[in-house]
């Protein structure tokens, strides 16, 4: 077992996850490639969405990968920072909107 989590070389070796289940890995990676191909959204828009989601799920591999990918697709620091703020706003908003449940319960049980 490694002595720490999140080793950077795990990202590079990601394809090796196929060893335990080649069929499922193939299905996953084929699907993954199809998702990021240009479609109704551009590759750059998809990369920025991925970057925002990476911050929401707090995946360090994805943050590195989609920072580079976003830059490679033409995004600059200001655009990427705005994408991260979108993730932050939704995450924060999701906490805050639960406050309505708190408030409703407080109104019910309080005087």
């Amino acid at each position: 077992m490694s002595d720490h989590y999140y080793r950077p070389d795990h990202l590079k070796g990601f394809a090796n996850i196929a060893e335990g289940s080649p069929d499922l890995a193939k299905k996953f990676f084929d699907y993954y490639s199809a998702v990021f191909a240009p479609g109704a959204l551009t590759e750059r828009e998809k990369a920025l969405i991925a970057l925002a989601v990476a911050h929401t799920v707090q995946c360090p591999y994805c943050i590195d990968a989609y920072t580079t990918e976003s830059m490679q697709k033409g995004a600059d620091l200001e655009q990427m920072t705005e994408a991260v703020h979108v993730a932050c706003a939704i995450r924060g908003g999701a906490s805050l909107v639960h406050g309505m449940q708190m408030k409703e319960h407080a109104d019910k049980v309080g005087m």
Binding site: P38, T42, E43, R44, T68, M71, Q72, K73, G74, D76, L77, E78, Q79
Partner: protein, 340 residues
Amino acid sequence: MTTTLASRRVPLASPREQLARLAGGPEFDDVLARAGHPPLSPASLEIFQINLGKFCNMTCRHCHVDAGPDRTDAMMSRATVEACLRALDRTDAATVDITGGAPELHPEFRYLVEESRRRGKHVIDRCNLSVLLLPRSAGVAEWLAERGVEIVASLPHYRKRNTDAQRGEGAFEKSIESLRLLNRAGYGKGDPKRVLSLMTNPAGAFLAQPQQSAEPEWKAALQREHGVTFDRLLALNNMPISRFLEWLIDSDNLDGYMQKLVEAFNPATIAGIMCRNTISVSWDGRLYDCDFNQMLDLDSGVTVEHFDPEAWRARRVITRRHCFGCTAGCGSSCGGAAAS
């Protein structure tokens, strides 16, 4: 803004030192062979590229030429310009590609443009945009427009941050002002005699964006934000040489960038890379496969005075590890990406 390697007299100013820093790791010819390709050989000559010298009003951080305001040491003489024209007459090259430095600042620039146009050649001026705002450049845009010269202008990004990061504080505002000036001269409006191409290089250690998908976005953004138009976008990878190499080393990105270039090797780029259809002449009249080999002193051993079209066609293209820059991803040619 940085300063030239030459003015700082640092070891990296030497092409030999640059090649030494690039050594280690897969060799270009080996990767080419593993992909089933023979060594690079010349295709028919289409582009006669003339580098008038290293003198430039700008000092961009990614410059592969190590050009700058102090580089008056490297300027092509009138005699060499004449030799270029004699050599040009012995080829079927349809395009004369004039680069530098800032070619517009060279005293023989207008003469070379006139003589090339007189021969019926398509002429490209590789322009840094800000040069057009200098008092000595007054009227240059209109002069080029009257002669149907295509302008290939450097602009790293359609937004300020990445442009200024690569080309110096204030470069973006000047670039926009120059683009407006070019638009007023008739450039960038779909007229085949006033073609304005924008050339983008990544502002960092990553590959160029695919030019085809980026072009509509660039056009919309520049029109919307600044009211300027252009005809086509060209996207090139940065070559790991000269000042971009210095930045890669200083920022600890060299190994990662080289690995990225090697891993992104794309055999589909081979047919379109510039070394196969270009002849590159340096300010001192030596002949090279491309502008990058020129900067690394990987010369063919021939001068433009002794140019022999048959021998040139029979040569073998010189390759080193920097060549991975032209075959990575969509690849790089003088006309932008070498593959879609």
